[in-house]
Every structure is written in structure tokens, then in C-alpha cells.
């Protein structure tokens, strides 16, 4: 290709710069806020932090007995942040595992075994996205109560997978459907069982798509605010999301932003590590326009 003129290069570069700033600025801003001392929050420059401190993060882990300074119990709440962290990890990991398990099984059935009308099954599952979540939590509350899961983390483990499952089934079944039939048949002729053929051959081949489904599920689960706040009421049962929702804007702004970052850092790290795999998996599922 002939070399591009300088203005095209400059345009490309500034476009890249603009994009990067647009995407990263809010994240950067929240990170900066969380590192500020209260003094700097009031008098400093909003965009930079001169004396970074971790005290906002430490505050989240403080126990009730340790009252800081003259500000008493009345003004400073204490948060069971470690519980929130543990709950969040449990819920996120559990939801991703449950979603992947259920959607791989369903996708294998639809993409490989192809029962009569499998296309319609797949469409029906995907159509779950049509249901508006708006006030669904009222009847959902009845379901959760009926299962005796009210104010219980397991309620989220039931609801979250349903939010990511339709897309994952769609993606995985499209991928399974396009794997040549011979791959499995060769193993079956050699005397392997269907299960062996699946775990030894199909599953390893579908790793990128599994990564994509997992990252999609993590992103979906981490984006929920409503369900967590509605269904988890006692502080010790809350996730970070539900807990931070109860913070008071005027009093705990810095601590809350620190909490936001504490949840974001692990989620973003995991997503970043698998980011390339995510694109590769989406591509693999889409090849041949599935």
C-alpha cells in the first residue's frame, strides 16, 4: 500500500487519542477521586491527585469499634465490607459457573443433537430478552419467597444466570452447530462414548467461545444494580453493589468511590486478561453468519 500523507496519519492519531480519552476518562476520574484525602477533595484540582492516600479504602474495612477522630458513631457508619466482598465473589463465580453449565448443556443439545424444531427452541430461549425487567421483581419476589430464598444470596444465583443465559446459548449453539459432524463421529466409531467425545474433543475445541460466554456473563452480572438492591436486605447478606447503594451521598462520597474501585479492579483485570479471547470467541461463534 502506498504511504499515507501526513495529515491522514495525524487524523488517525488524534482519532485514537480522542477515543482513548473518551473511554478511559470516567474510569480515571473515579480512580483519582478514591485516592484523595478529604482536604484535597475540597480544595484540590479535581483531575489530579497530589497526595494519594489509601485511607478511603482502609475506611471500608474498619470495624465499628474503631471510631476515627472526633466524628462519632452517629456520623460514620461502619460497613461489613469483607462480607460484601466474599458475597460478591461467591455470587459472581457461582453465576458464571451456573450459566456456563446450563448453557453448554442446552447449546450442545440444540447445536449437535438437534431435536425436532431446535431452531425454534433456540429462538424461544433468546426471546427471553423481550421481557422487560421493570416491575418483574414484584412477582419474582413471590417466587423467591416461595422457594424460601428471601434475603438470601442464593436468590441472586437463581436470577443472574437467566440474564446472560439466552445470549450464551445462542452463541454456543451456533458454534457447536458449525463444528463438522465428522469430528465427533470419528471418536464414536473408535468406541468412545458420547460423553467422552464431548469432554475430550468438543469442549477443548470450544475454549474461545466458552471464554466469550464467561466474560459476557461476568459483564452482565456485574452490571446489575436493581436485583441486588431489591433482594438483599440485611447488610451481612449484601453484595458490594447492593451495599454501596445504601451509602449516603453527602457523607461517604470518597469511601463509596473507593468501594466502586475495589469491585472494579478485579472484574476489570479478569476481563482485560480475557479480552482478546472474548473477541476471538465472539468471532468463532459468528463465522458463517450464525
Amino acid at each position: 500500500m502506498n504511504p499515507r500523507p501526513w495529515w491522514a496519519k495525524l487524523g488517525h492519531l488524534s482519532l485514537l487519542l480522542l477515543t482513548t480519552v473518551y473511554c478511559l476518562f470516567p474510569i480515571y476520574f473515579m480512580l483519582v477521586q478514591s485516592l484523595k484525602t478529604p482536604e484535597e477533595d475540597v480544595f484540590g484540582n479535581p483531575f489530579i491527585v497530589m497526595n494519594p492516600t489509601l485511607e478511603n479504602f482502609e475506611e471500608l474495612f474498619e470495624r465499628k469499634s474503631e471510631v476515627r477522630g472526633f466524628v462519632g458513631d452517629a456520623l460514620r457508619r461502619s460497613y461489613p465490607f469483607l462480607d460484601w466482598l466474599a458475597n460478591t465473589l461467591f455470587i459472581f463465580a457461582g453465576s458464571v459457573a451456573a450459566t456456563l453449565g446450563a448453557s453448554v448443556a442446552a447449546a450442545y443439545a440444540l447445536g449437535r443433537l438437534r431435536p425436532p424444531g431446535f431452531r425454534w427452541w433456540r429462538r424461544a430461549i433468546f426471546a427471553a430478552y423481550v421481557v422487560p425487567q421493570t416491575i418483574l421483581f414484584i412477582p419474582l419476589f413471590q417466587v423467591v419467597n416461595g422457594l424460601r430464598l428471601d434475603d438470601n444470596l442464593l436468590a441472586l444465583l437463581l436470577i443472574y444466570p437467566s440474564m446472560a443465559l439466552p445470549f450464551c446459548v445462542w452463541m454456543l449453539s451456533a458454534f457447536f452447530q458449525h463444528l463438522p459432524r465428522e469430528i465427533e463421529e470419528a471418536a464414536l466409531i473408535e468406541g468412545a462414548s458420547r460423553a467422552t467425545a464431548f469432554f475430550r474433543i468438543i469442549l477443548p475445541m470450544s475454549r474461545p467461545v466458552l471464554v466469550a460466554a464467561g466474560i459476557f456473563t461476568l459483564g452482565t452480572v456485574a452490571s446489575d444494580f436493581m436485583i441486588a438492591s431489591v433482594f438483599l436486605l440485611t447488610p451481612h447478606n449484601q453484595t458490594i453493589t447492593a451495599g454501596l447503594g445504601t451509602f449516603d451521598v453527602a457523607l461517604d462520597e470518597l469511601a463509596a468511590v473507593a468501594g466502586v474501585n475495589l469491585l472494579a479492579i478485579p472484574v476489570v483485570t479478569i476481563s482485560a486478561v480475557f479480552a482478546r479471547g472474548y473477541v476471538r470467541g465472539l468471532t468463532a461463534a459468528m463465522v458463517e453468519g450464525a
Binding site: 427471553a128 430478552y129 422487560p132 439466552p166 452490571s223 446489575d224 453493589t241 447503594g245 482478546r276
Partner: protein, 297 residues
């Protein structure tokens, strides 16, 4: 029954067995609630009244269509969904095309584009709220307050809140669509683009005669997911406006009717008004994405 036939029957049984966890999950979480919503929308159920609920037929829907409030909420919802979807698609497509060709630092830019979606939105919405509506003591509060005042006085009360919700939705959504479209571009054989390069010198012609048609299914998927999230967008609006209804979208209006006014019937009817529209979009999507002529394959 031949051997082949019984093997096939066992295969089908296995298929239903494997489908059951996913179906059971969706039935528990969606089927009963949707049924409840449908039934309730035909009654006058309210937690505030003691008497038994009465069946009122389509009264709730009829009254809804006569209310100015409903039409206002519907109009705001449509504007909200249209503005965010168009912006998300445009930005997403732009980002995806930017990333389609290799250049130095591409991995970094890709990561930057990926992060707004990967950043957990359940909490970033809290961060956004406090950034856009900071407590008065913070250093940037006067600036944000001034901005809010300027925007609100130029476009009417609630404009700033509306803009902030739209900005957040676009910021996160464009990231998701960009990555989806990038995956779509990667799925297209590069020979097609090379052919196009030989056929036409004009980048614009190549873009709208080759790139867009090839990406159509993925664009459709992006639009569908964007619309469902925008129409049902309750949490973000609710959070970013701190529960004050400065501009009702159908989602928040229904939520308000149900939780504050205790009118479960009209609230159910209201949120169900979205369904036919989304179903229509879904059918369009299926036509693009899962075309019927491949049924035989």
C-alpha cells in the same frame, strides 16, 4: 423400529434432558412472573386495598392510552432509545473500524475501548451519579452545578439528568457494540475486503456497499440488545436521577406506579406495552440473523 431410529430417539431424549436445566431456570425466573404480570394487568390488584382483586378486563390499558402522562413517558422512552441506539451504533461502528486495521498500540486502544463495558456497571453508575451530581463541598461541584444550571435552563428542567443518563448508556453501550462489531469484522473473510479495494477507490463506497451489508446481522444484534436495554432501562435512570422522576420513561413510570402508588394493575399494563414493540424488533432480527432458507441445513 430400526437401530438407526432408536439411536435417534435416544439422541432426542438426551437433547431434552440437556435442555432442561436452562429451560427450568428460565421458567422459574421468567414464566411465572410474566404470567403474573399479564394477569395483574387485567385486574385492579393493589397492596393498598384490602378487598379481593377484581377482574377489570382491558380497562387498565384503555385508561393508559387516554393519559397524557403515558404518552409523555412513551415519547421520552422512544427518544431515549433512539438517541442512545443511534449514538451507540455510530460510535461502536467507528471504534470497530478504527481497530480493524493493525497499527502500533492497537492492543492498548482495544483495551481502552473494551473497558467501559467491562467496568462493572452496577457500581460505575454510582460513581457516575456522584461525579455528575457531586456533594457541594467537592472541588468540582461548582463547575458541575454551573453546567447543570446551563443545560437545564437551555433545554428545560430535567435536561441535565436526561443527558447524564444518555451519556452513561452510550459510554457503556458503544463499548459493547464496538467489540461485537469488531468480532463481526474478524468473521468476514479478508478476501472480500481486498476485492472491494480493487473494485472501488472510494472509501465511502466500499464502506456502504461492502462493509455495512456484510455486518448487517451483527448491527441488527447490536440494535436489538441496545433497544432491550434502553427500553427496560430502569436501574440506570433511577440511579442517575436519584429516584426523582424528572423525566419519566416507561420503565421508571411503571416502577413508580407499582412501588409508590401501589397500583400493580396499571403498572403491569404499562410495562407490558413495551413487549409487542420488542417482539417486532426481535422478528426482524431473526430474519437477518437466522434466515429461513438455512432451515434445511
Amino acid at each position: 423400529m430400526s437401530l438407526r431410529g432408536s439411536a435417534r430417539r435416544r439422541e432426542i431424549q438426551l437433547a431434552y434432558l440437556l435442555l432442561s436445566p436452562a429451560l427450568l431456570l428460565l421458567l422459574t425466573v421468567l414464566a411465572y412472573p410474566v404470567g403474573w404480570e399479564l394477569w395483574t394487568s387485567l385486574t385492579d390488584l393493589s397492596p393498598l386495598s384490602d378487598g379481593p382483586q377484581a377482574f377489570v378486563g382491558i380497562e387498565n390499558y384503555r385508561r393508559l392510552l387516554g393519559e397524557a402522562e403515558f404518552w409523555r413517558a412513551a415519547a421520552v422512552t422512544v427518544v431515549y432509545a433512539a438517541v442512545t441506539s443511534v449514538a451507540k451504533l455510530a460510535l461502536g461502528l467507528g471504534f470497530a473500524l478504527l481497530l480493524a486495521r493493525p497499527f502500533r498500540g492497537r492492543a492498548f486502544v482495544f483495551l481502552a475501548i473494551f473497558l467501559p463495558w467491562a467496568y462493572p456497571a452496577g457500581v460505575s453508575v454510582i460513581g457516575w451519579y456522584w461525579t455528575l451530581n457531586p456533594p457541594t463541598r467537592t472541588a468540582y461541584a461548582p463547575f458541575m452545578g454551573h453546567l447543570k444550571f446551563v443545560v437545564d435552563s437551555a433545554f428545560g428542567g430535567g435536561a441535565w439528568a436526561f443527558a447524564s443518563v444518555i451519556l452513561f448508556n452510550i459510554w457503556r453501550g458503544s463499548s459493547f457494540i464496538a467489540v461485537l462489531l469488531l468480532a463481526g469484522i474478524n468473521a468476514i473473510p479478508p478476501e472480500l475486503f481486498e476485492c472491494a479495494l480493487l473494485e472501488s477507490k472510494s472509501a465511502w463506497r466500499r464502506f456502504h456497499l461492502v462493509t455495512v451489508p456484510l455486518l448487517k446481522p451483527f448491527l441488527a444484534l447490536g440494535v436489538f440488545l441496545s433497544l432491550t436495554s434502553a427500553f427496560a432501562d430502569l436501574a440506570n435512570v433511577w440511579m442517575l436521577t436519584a429516584g426523582r422522576i424528572v423525566f419519566p420513561v416507561i420503565g421508571t413510570h411503571a416502577y413508580w406506579l407499582a412501588t409508590k402508588a401501589g397500583q400493580f394493575g396499571p403498572a403491569s399494563a404499562l410495562s407490558l406495552t413495551l413487549v409487542p414493540f420488542l417482539l417486532g424488533v426481535l422478528f426482524l432480527l431473526f430474519r437477518l440473523f437466522d434466515p429461513p432458507e438455512r432451515e434445511a441445513a
